[in-house]
């Protein structure tokens, strides 16, 4: 059955409703929204004077009207303890999305907690502790006291290395500058925790070390560049589904040719035309179909290469472009390191195993020599046609009429990041941008497209080292005594997940069993019992999150956090655009912003260490007397971020949903002055300002176990996101509209493969290999390649990570994308899947 809300009218926003700035707290794009709240007993009217829009709402409104909102944009929530109406609708004046909402962001209101309307009742309202054999509510003081005492006892016995931490490092809902600072100051300031990881990977490391080592920060352009580029090259990304409104509002105008006027104005005297796009992805994504519909197939080049061979393609392109002389010699000479009279530049990669030998960072000539790949070899390894590789090179770099440099923007995301040989592949792509002078200039950039928003400000993480600790492996090996988790759910979003869950459950169960033997009121005996279990291999687990998570089922303490809008929260998007989301409603129950939870935990630790007669160590936990999230912002961002001294809540509020591009460089005429593009002055993020190239020869499969798995199992289990589900569905699992469409994770399969396996649409299949097993719902996909499936990543009712082996690259970056497994039917379509449509998701004209 198709889910219908049966809502046939909505309360009208009255003219005097309170308006708040909101940045969507889901994906990297950070679309602007406005939240309107007004008292429950009032409503606007259809008369223009009675509503916020000043229009006659007794009439049908046209397409793209601002005077309409969907039922998902409405809710009844608490504000200052009172029920209020809430509408959160896209902001037409925001330059990011110009009034567009996506299927994720336009459900923000509905995905808030409402007692009155029964939405998101899964949210945590109280600190919860393992008491009498189940999770029970308690006070903040009680919960934090237990956490502090156990943590202190573990540090006493094992040192700070006994404290394992999993924490978000991003912006948006579970993050933002306030909260990354709060947690960062605790674990990297007061302490120097080394066994730490991030929400989507098993270590505390960059996803894009290579570009950074080369001196090129990964978010270096602005969204407008996608409108200005002659060619967009996109690698391992599906922007229509994963960066939706960036794609719709900035890429599509270029592909449609409607940004031509902008190009003409920006580049006088330069030939400009409708844009082209090169899409590098083994899979035909909905993005490909949309590009073809808009630009025509002759301006879209989909390079469906052999999975994992992107590096070869980039080296082949670089070789061809260089041999043709389509490089930007002046740029290379002035802005990158160059060979000297005594030979090539040889620069060791930071953290290299053998620094005196490992000279991957180098000058253009040396990198080209190392990476040289003939067209024939490139075609052979990537499985692409030579003619298509040549066409891509032409679209990327052949000079335009009048010998003008072609402007190419390069975007990449998880297909590259979670792909084969992350470091070298990333570098090989950045090589192309550097060689063609496409960084820091309009219509250029070589950028991550991003997942979450960003919002990182923390004390130095240098003590973590490089390579960073492989935290999940250490946990499996029985290391650590206490685990603090902040908005991470390893159970859904790690690799080798089946093994991880087995061990994690066992270790935390040991502590639960021990806790069951002691009355709650005897704190000393409780801590002693927990410590005994820890000495025997047990693990004490503390989960700070907004809902009971899957890993949380193993935890002993849950600490309830607030989300964006329930607190003031700052983040930046994929073009470094920083905004403040204003608080417009109350957090549920006793929930608090993460930064304040971290502060109260720091206070508790200070007290416990002082009581234990360790005044010196206790003193390290000073400086957490914040009362509000703004206190944390001032302590963190204002004092530590690049340009932070120009930024305050008040100024951000005045800058509205358009904010400014970080870093701030001044405050002038009542406005924060930002930086539209990085490296516009040609000075890169290196000591001497010169960017470096990367020698990145092809090495085949980089992560251990991939080649073997490929030889042993029949199906590629590629994986990633779909449009409708945000992240690991932590909110969406309680959203009727989403669950009505996606009751189980889909696995796209070619119909002939399904026939071979005797699987019908909607059937549940088991995906199994040497790493583990999981389940998914078969979605027939005629455009899929035979034996190449695509499964939804990180979904609760079928965790793809179960079939990802433990292999990582030399910097502990997983290759989540490349898995091979066998598939078998386990059940015919369950009731929830029977009413589903299994028609093609592709748009055709």
């Amino acid at each position: 059955m198709t889910f219908k809300r049966q809502v046939d009218r909505l309360p009208i926003i009255p003219a005097d409703a309170v308006e708040h700035n909101v940045t969507c707290h889901y994906c990297i794009v950070g679309c602007g929204y406005k939240a309107y709240t007004w008292d429950i007993n009032r409503q606007g009217g259809t008369d223009p004077k009675q509503n916020k829009f000043g229009v006659n709402l007794a009439q049908q409104q046209g397409a793209e009207t601002v005077a309409w909102y969907a039922p998902s944009m409405y809710n009844i929530v608490k504000s200052d303890g009172r029920d209020v109406h809430l509408v959160i609708k896209p902001d037409v004046d925001c330059a990011v999305n110009s009034g567009l909402g996506s299927v994720r962001g336009a459900r923000m209101a509905e995905n808030h907690t409402s007692q009155a309307r029964n939405t998101q009742q899964q949210r945590l309202t109280d600190p919860m502790v393992w008491r009498y054999g189940e999770m029970q509510p308690t006070s903040w003081d009680d919960a934090l006291d237990l956490v502090a005492r156990v943590t202190a006892a573990v540090i006493d016995e094992q040192g700070e290395d006994g404290l394992f931490v999993s924490m978000f490092d991003h912006g948006g809902s579970a993050g933002g500058y306030e909260n990354t600072w709060g947690t960062g100051k605790l674990y990297f300031g007061a302490m120097k925790v080394k066994n730490v990881r991030i929400h989507n990977r098993p270590a505390y490391n960059s996803e894009v070390h290579a570009t950074r080592d080369m001196g090129v920060g990964e978010l270096n352009n602005c969204y407008e560049d996608a409108e200005l580029a002659d060619t967009i090259m996109v690698v391992g990304a599906n922007p229509l589904e994963a960066q939706t409104n960036y794609f719709l509002n900035h890429w599509i105008p270029n592909l449609r040719g409607t940004s031509l006027d902008k190009k003409k104005a920006e580049f006088p005297g330069e030939p400009v035309e409708q844009g082209r796009i090169v899409i590098v992805d083994p899979r035909r994504t909905p993005t490909v179909a949309a590009c073809e519909a808009e630009a025509g197939t002759d301006r879209v080049l989909h390079l469906a290469l052999e999975p994992g061979t992107d590096l070869v393609l980039f080296n082949g392109l670089l070789t061809y472009i260089a041999d043709k002389g389509w490089i930007d010699k002046e740029f290379i000479q002035n802005h990158t390191v160059v060979a000297t009279a005594s030979g090539p530049q040889l620069i060791a990669r930071p953290g290299a195993a053998v620094p005196e030998k490992d000279h991957e960072l180098t000058d253009f000539t040396a990198a080209l020599a190392a990476n040289r790949t003939s067209l024939a070899d490139c075609a052979k390894i990537t499985g692409l046609k030579e003619a298509d590789i040549v066409k891509a090179a032409e679209w990327i770099a052949s000079p335009k009429a009048g010998n003008k440099r072609r402007r190419t923007m390069i975007g990449y995301e998880k297909g590259l990041i979670w792909g084969n040989d992350n470091y070298r592949t990333n570098g090989a792509l950045v090589n192309i941008a550097l060689a063609t002078g496409n960084i820091g200039r309009p219509g250029g950039g070589v950028v991550r497209l991003g997942g979450h928003q960003e919002g990182y400000v923390r004390p130095s993480d240098a003590h973590v080292g490089r390579p960073a600790a492989y935290v999940d492996k250490l946990l499996i090996e029985g290391r650590g005594g206490v685990h603090h988790i902040w908005a991470c759910d390893h159970y859904k979003t790690t690799l080798n997940a089946m093994r991880f869950k087995q061990v994690y459950k066992k270790r935390t169960d040991m502590v639960k069993d021990a806790m069951n033997t002691v009355p709650w009121g005897d704190r000393a005996a409780m801590v002693a019992a927990i410590m005994t279990a820890i000495r025997q291999g047990g693990l004490f687990s503390v989960d700070t999150d907004i809902i009971p998570t899957q890993i949380g089922q193993a935890s002993h303490v849950w600490l309830p956090a607030a989300i964006s809008g329930e607190m003031n929260l700052t983040s930046m998007n994929g073009e470094r655009r920083m905004r403040l989301t204003q608080r417009y409603m109350d957090p549920p129950g006793q929930a608090m912003p993460d930064c304040l939870i971290a502060a109260r935990l720091a206070n508790a630790l200070e007290r416990v260490f002082r009581d234990a007669g360790k005044p010196g160590y206790a003193d390290q936990f000073k400086g957490f007397d914040w009362k509000t999230e703004e206190d944390a912002f001032v302590d963190g961002y204002t004092k530590n971020a690049n340009g932070g001294q120009f930024v305050s809540y008040e100024r951000l509020k005045a800058m509205g949903n358009n904010g400014f591009h970080e870093p701030a460089v001044a405050f002038k005429d009542g406005k924060i002055v930002g930086t539209k593009r990085l490296y516009a002055d040609g000075k890169f993020s290196t000591k001497d300002g010169k960017a470096k190239f990367l020698a990145a020869p092809w090495r085949g499969w980089a992560a251990p176990g991939k080649a073997d798995q490929k030889a042993k199992y029949a199906y590629l289990i590629n994986n990633g996101r779909t449009n409708i589900v945000w992240q690991n569905a932590f909110m969406d699992q309680d959203n009727d509209f989403v669950m009505g469409r996606m009751p189980y994770p889909i696995i796209e399969m070619h119909p002939d493969d399904m026939k071979d396996l005797e699987v019908s649409a909607g059937d549940l299949v088991e995906v199994y290999n040497d790493a583990g097993a999981t389940q998914a719902m078969a979605y027939p996909t005629p455009t899929a390649r035979r034996k190449q499936t695509f499964m939804l990543f990180g979904f609760p009712k079928g965790v793809e990570g179960n079939v990802v082996n433990a292999g990582v690259n030399e910097l502990i970056i997983p290759d989540y994308k490349h898995n091979w497994a066998n598939i078998r039917k386990i059940a015919s379509a369950p009731a929830a899947a029977r009413g589903l449509s299994f028609k093609s998701t592709e748009y055709k004209v």
Partner: protein, 173 residues
């Protein structure tokens, strides 16, 4: 952490979830409050019964343009030849939908080859054989389907709508 399953609670919530908004009148603050005399509020808007066509006028897979609940709300009426969710008529195969895309209101186009409605605005797609289920797209709701009835003469009437129609904050203006 569990949802409250109490029947009374659930009933109350269901009411608020779907309809409770119209109950409060416009709050006109007066110094001397008089007993409220709001017009009788209904839980749902009152839908007109509109004749859209006669069964004999429908050809298989050939959409007929209609409008419901009024002329400013375009839709299509379709005979599919297979029994479907919400279908009426002797074969349970007659359905009608709003053709205003619930994302930003662009007009949907019918694609006979796979029986879908597709949006030229931003590529959303809806399945007319599955009650307007959004196959893929940006709308946060499935497509508004018109509730149909067929009388003895074969006349097809629209008598309700199951989702909010794009561009109006009340299905009946």
């Amino acid at each position: 952490m569990k949802k409250c399953d109490g029947l009374v609670e659930a009933g109350r919530r269901q009411f608020l979830r779907t309809a409770g908004f119209s109950v409060a009148g416009v709050a006109a603050a007066t110094v001397m409050p008089t007993p409220a005399k709001a017009a009788t509020a209904t839980a749902r808007v009152a839908y007109p019964s509109s004749r859209l066509a006669n069964l004999t006028e429908l050809k298989l897979d050939d959409p007929v343009n209609v409008a419901y609940p009024d002329n400013d709300s375009p839709g299509i009426l379709l005979k599919l030849g297979v029994k479907v969710e919400g279908g009426v008529g002797p074969d349970g195969d007659v359905v009608a939908y709003s053709v205003l895309c619930p994302h930003k209101g662009y007009p949907l186009a019918y694609n006979q080859s796979d029986r879908t409605l597709s949006c030229p605005g931003h590529y959303s797609r809806f399945d007319v054989e599955k009650a307007g289920q959004e196959i893929w797209g940006h709308a946060t709701q499935n497509l508004a389907q018109f509730v149909l009835r067929v009388d003895a003469k074969g006349d097809i009437y629209a008598e309700g709508v199951d989702e909010l129609i794009y561009g109006r904050l009340s299905n009946v203006l």
